[in-house]
């Protein structure tokens, strides 16, 4: 029974993610005074990629890499409570808490890294080293923020963190712990990976970063993961800092706004080099995070 609910919410999240991606692309196109792709373009791309006829593989890990990647993405989804107070849409969140989700993100990265690594394309590896380097520093403000709110609420359970934020706008973490929220939201920019932090897969330069060699079904899986991951990360931040959601509508609205914030920054700013972004993450967001921790203790 649980599995059916999980599948149902997965269906929602997947579709929402695809639509969101389409709409966001359309919005960014409008910013550039274009019309842009149809909102259903992600669906078409996905279908096309899954329908690619010829396929080759560099080896076992190249083959399994995308599976790992998608497992990582779906894994986070599986352990994330979606709707507060709704047992049906809490997925498997009773098996693990916030820490599990934070560390589950690594599985996807590892999958990508292994797959791309066996692909043997040097540019993929360059992309991966960039991605990993950047990710380590993104995690610094993120960790500080998580510690801060865990200390604030004295719990690591996402459901309980959400529960503690119920009862109005003023109870949200963004109001009760603005420093942690600020640090985490800056980290969020890096997690989503739009500009200024998208040198990882800077198109043409290296040519696509990690997925350079991936095609067809593999690429389809990576795309699927990407849309899910973006939504789930938004939902995570929603749960931690913006009071969670008590129904699907609230979830969609909040997740969209959080995601849109990253997109907004991404369309406005140019790109950082990797050492610049490392320094940046270890500077302002980290200071904010440290302040958040100091104030809470």
């Amino acid at each position: 029974m649980k599995i059916l609910y999980v599948l149902f919410s997965f269906f929602i999240i997947l579709n929402y993610g695809l639509l969101q991606t389409g709409f966001i692309r359309r919005i960014t196109a409008r910013v550039g005074k274009r019309i842009g792709v149809p909102f259903y373009q992600p669906y078409i791309d996905l279908v096309k990629n899954y329908a690619i006829r010829s396929q080759f593989s560099h080896g076992v890990m190249f083959y399994l890499g995308p599976v790992f990647r998608l497992s990582g993405g779906i894994g986070i989804f599986l352990f994330m409570p979606l709707i507060y107070g709704n047992e049906m849409f809490s997925n498997f969140s009773m098996s693990g808490d916030l820490i599990l989700i934070l560390y589950f993100m690594f599985i996807g990265m590892l999958g990508m890294a292994l797959g791309a690594g066996e692909g043997g394309h040097p540019y993929s590896i360059i992309g991966i080293t960039r991605g990993l380097s950047q990710f380590t520093t993104i995690e610094v403000p993120m960790t500080l923020a998580v510690i801060s709110i865990a200390a604030q609420y004295q719990t690591l359970s996402i459901s309980e963190i959400v529960a503690a934020q119920q009862g109005g706008f003023m109870n949200w973490t963004i109001m009760t712990n603005p420093l942690a929220t600020a640090a985490a939201m800056l980290a969020f920019l890096g997690m989503i990976g739009y500009a200024p932090f998208n040198v990882v897969n800077a198109p043409q330069e290296n040519p696509l970063g990690p997925p350079t060699e991936f095609h067809g079904t593999f690429l389809g899986m990576l795309q699927t993961n990407r849309v899910i991951l973006h939504v789930i990360e938004s939902i995570l931040f929603m749960n931690l800092f913006f009071g969670g959601a008590t129904n699907w509508l609230a979830l969609i609205v909040k997740a969209f706004i959080i995601y849109f914030y990253a997109v907004f920054i991404g369309t406005v700013f140019p790109r950082f080099r990797i050492d610049q972004s490392i320094k940046w993450f270890l500077f302002i967001p980290t200071i904010l995070g440290i302040l958040a921790v100091i104030f809470i203790s």
Partner: protein, 233 residues
Amino acid sequence: MAEEKNYKIIQPEDTEENKFLKPENYKREVTAPDGETFVVDPINDYFCDAKPQPHAPNTIKIVEKFLNWARSESIWVLGYGTGCGSIEIYPLMTPRFDAYRFGVQQRPTPRQSNLFIISGYLSVKTLKRAIRSYEQMPSPKYVMGLGSCTINGGMYWDSYNTINRLDQYMPVDVYVAGCMPRPEALLAGFMELKKRIKEGKGEGANEYAEKFDWYKANQKKVIKDWNMPDYNW
């Protein structure tokens, strides 16, 4: 740090075949860590020499039609400008022409592209790279010839190092004539391509696989220094 060479290059025999072999592709005698020596032949050992296979369309008509629709609506162009025509491709992505509307997007890697636009004259040297890139694209894949030069050589019809007819070397789905064709013409070409795909005629990849020997013979006729396996995976 001067690195000690742990291999010995074996000079190839002076045959016609080996004439254009590059030094890095010479056979070399290497010593394994356990002291055993053996010969590495880069051409055979480092490249897959399997021939391409035609891929049959989905046997269920309706599914194939749906997939063809999806393919036609999601055309990913390989970002590779071969000649002067490439200057006409970039405006496509600007607000004025906005090819995104039609699901046309650019990809930097052949692995993820469906459409290869040969943008203008194609020198023999570029042809080699173009063929490699084309062969590295996954099936189904399409080729669009841009400008007169790809049709009959255009103003370079008697040039010493450009090809005259593109479809001698790779199956072309659509030609867009002109010198140069305007972006509007390109858009029209996309429409034409979409139509062909939807009709199920965009089977250039299978055609290439079926008539592989013929294409390869044509290619080798102009590309004298062919020093690679026949098909680039």
